[in-house]
Assembly symmetry: C2
DNA sequence: TTTACTGCAAAGTGTTTGCAGCGAT
DNA sequence: ATCGCTGCAAACACTTTGCAGTAAA
């Protein structure tokens, strides 16, 4: 039973923020200060931020950013497949820089920690859906909530 | 590779509405007209309704139902594990009467049809998460969007 | 100089809530 | 008769939008 092997996703970036601010993303038309900032924050953080915290982080660095721009930029980045949106049970929507396909999230209902993992069984399921139902999968998302080792111990 | 076998869930109910209105559910304290009505609609429909359409359906039968009551009743039914909430990519939330565990949904982005299927690999994944990460899964939900056979053909 | 992008405030969406009256028990 | 439930409207949280000004090209 090889399929549902769970393995932690290797963290793609172990510093706080990658030093070089890198090239501006192909966001839309113009690489504005605000867009670069928001993009940089998302690209370099380990956290899964919601719109509000992303806004606060951005504003701490440069006050000339508005919440609307954060939303507009998120939409842009989603369209360009540069960031993914995670929607959890309780409606919280977080954003993260696009990583490898096939990595998923579990969230601890008690401490809020988000753990990432990979499981190739989902990719296999996608193939099966195509084969057996003729269904062409565009988006496959799995949301798992529960209690992490630490929190289930202290319950 | 037995694991990600996809199979269509057998429809639990093939009539339009089951004839007998059945016993009142253990909803909370009181089995009111409104609660019975909402419960009955959810129990007997094949569709996955959102709050609004559930409200319209209910109001068509008995005008003395309000949208707030629909929301309140849905919350109640969710708490009692009598209905499940499905949250799709585009935010639409639908409700369905609780069926067997381990059945999931895929939705056609073109025609909106919701197809149900089972896949035991997710249950196995749950076991693995427990075993390997010590993570106690409370809720496991998978949302798949894409194009059904018919719609992918006509694209 | 052009016109895409931004901040602001206002509008919109889906859901929840406070309250006085209603009705299941 | 009690007090849990309801309808209503108002509040709510989050997101989107119109517009006049700003700035990237």
């Amino acid at each position: 039973m090889e399929c549902p092997r769970v393995r932690l996703t290797t963290k793609s970036n172990n510093g706080k923020r990658s030093s070089a601010s890198a090239s501006a993303p192909a966001l839309g038309q113009r690489a504005t200060r605000q867009r670069k900032l928001i993009y940089d924050i998302l690209r370099s953080t380990e956290d899964h931020l919601d719109a509000e915290s992303l806004y606060r982080k951005a504003r701490d660095i440069d006050s000339r950013v508005s919440l609307s721009t954060v939303y507009r930029t998120i939409a842009l980045l989603k369209e360009s497949d540069l960031v993914d949106e995670l929607v959890f049970e309780d409606d919280r929507r977080c954003y993260e820089f696009r990583k490898e396909v096939g990595h998923h999230h579990i969230r601890c209902l008690s401490c809020g920690e988000i753990i990432e993992f990979e499981c190739d069984c989902l990719e296999k399921m996608r193939a099966r859906l195509k084969q057996e139902l003729g269904f062409e999968v565009e988006a496959l998302k799995i949301d798992i909530s529960g209690y992490c080792r630490k929190c289930s111990a202290s319950r």
